[in-house]
Amino acid sequence: MAESKVATAMAHGSATEAAEKLVATCRAELQGCEPALVMVFASTTQPLSELAPLVAASFPRSTVLGASTAGEFTEAGDAKHSAVMFALCGDYRIFAGMGTGLKASAEGAVAEALEGMPAQVVGFPHRTAILLLDPLSGSSEEATLTTAALMGFDLRLAGGAAGDDLALKCTHVSLGNRVIADGVVVANVFSKQPLGVGVCHGHEPHSAPLTVTRAEGGVVHEIDGRPAWEVWVEHTRDATSKLGFDPATLPESEVGGFFLRFEAGLSQGDAYKIRAPLFRTGPHSIAFACGIPEGSVIRITESEPARQIDSAKEAARRARAQVGDLPLAGAVVFDCICRNLILKDDFKTAIAGIHEELGNVPLAGFETYGEIALDAGDLSGFHNTTTVVLAFPK
């Protein structure tokens, strides 16, 4: 069995400059080995529509996936306005597809992406799916559950929701040289050893329970019978005044950052599932990354910086544990943008913590508008405020 090898790279500049540097750096690290999987995560400075075709042309025999981002990082550190690459060589069989029209039909988009994909490959007993999607469709949990349902219940699923540097206007995913908004990309990775998927968040409820009283799909119009935006501002006022700003007077360009710091928590009994509000629609309503049914009871959540660092390390430990005693080759990390907003300069400490927990192997990832992690037996796979680590054994 061939040993797996991972190369990572980060680059700045135009899409052309970034593509050249990413490809050259990873090629040099891989020393002639042709990657089975390449992932590129790019800021809006290197539009994915320009970057992905250049990378795909450089790796014609590889499966090349991509997503636009709200921040990028490798084991060497994090940046904005950059692009990163993760390249994996080894004994894998990878099949990928793309589906469009996610907003209109999550089931239709996922079915399109999975069309013709094999359920098994002889000699490769483990399979893990990577899901990248456009969260602005408002159907992220719907797409995640549908992917798991259609692919079978033994599936381990990991992935992320694309970003756009907090503009919250348009996010993209790519497969090969095709780049789309309002869509999903699914890659089915067949392997000889299990891959590890770990997830953890560090948020806690901050408000009293609030009931969603009027909603359509992923748009919440009223909470406790009042305009949703008004309620969000009111229930975060104490916390935001300590942080030195008033959400009611925020310019539209900063509202996304505010939402991603104060997200909604759904009680699961002993824990909270976090749901991300993304942007305002009209003066009173709030759009989320997935459906928020009327009657849902939410609590506005927030987190202390120290908990964000601990939860990142815990996600890495969980991914590591799933791989067992095998040494790791590297990892892809899908990390909520909220964690960067909370940690600011200490975000690099969180990355260093993940890196250390994984045994100092190469890693690359991006800051997302949502994370995907679902293991056999789980009943929900779309998360917010989390770190998701997808670890590849050597």
Binding site: E142, G269, G295, V297, S380
Partner: protein, 75 residues
């Protein structure tokens, strides 16, 4: 062999990861009421009927119920 039983609480748990505990409790109560199921302990076919009823709902609630139903089938 008697059909395995499942509590209403377990059916709620199947949905609460994606919908939250309160919404899951509400949709299970409504579906059970519509089906005339008053008992706290359900047999597997009743639990599947409850999920099937919820699965008719559009959007995330229906998708979650269809997913939970598939999981319950595997038990």
């Amino acid at each position: 062999m008697p059909e395995p039983s499942i509590s209403r609480g377990e059916v709620i748990k199947l949905l609460s990861q994606a919908l939250g505990h309160e919404k899951a409790t509400d949709v299970v109560a409504q579906a059970a009421f519509r089906l005339g199921i008053r008992r706290e302990i359900l047999d597997k076919s009743q639990a599947l009927s409850v999920l099937e009823q919820i699965a008719q709902t559009p959007g995330l609630v229906g998708i979650t119920a269809r997913f939970a139903k598939s999981r319950l089938h595997l038990r």
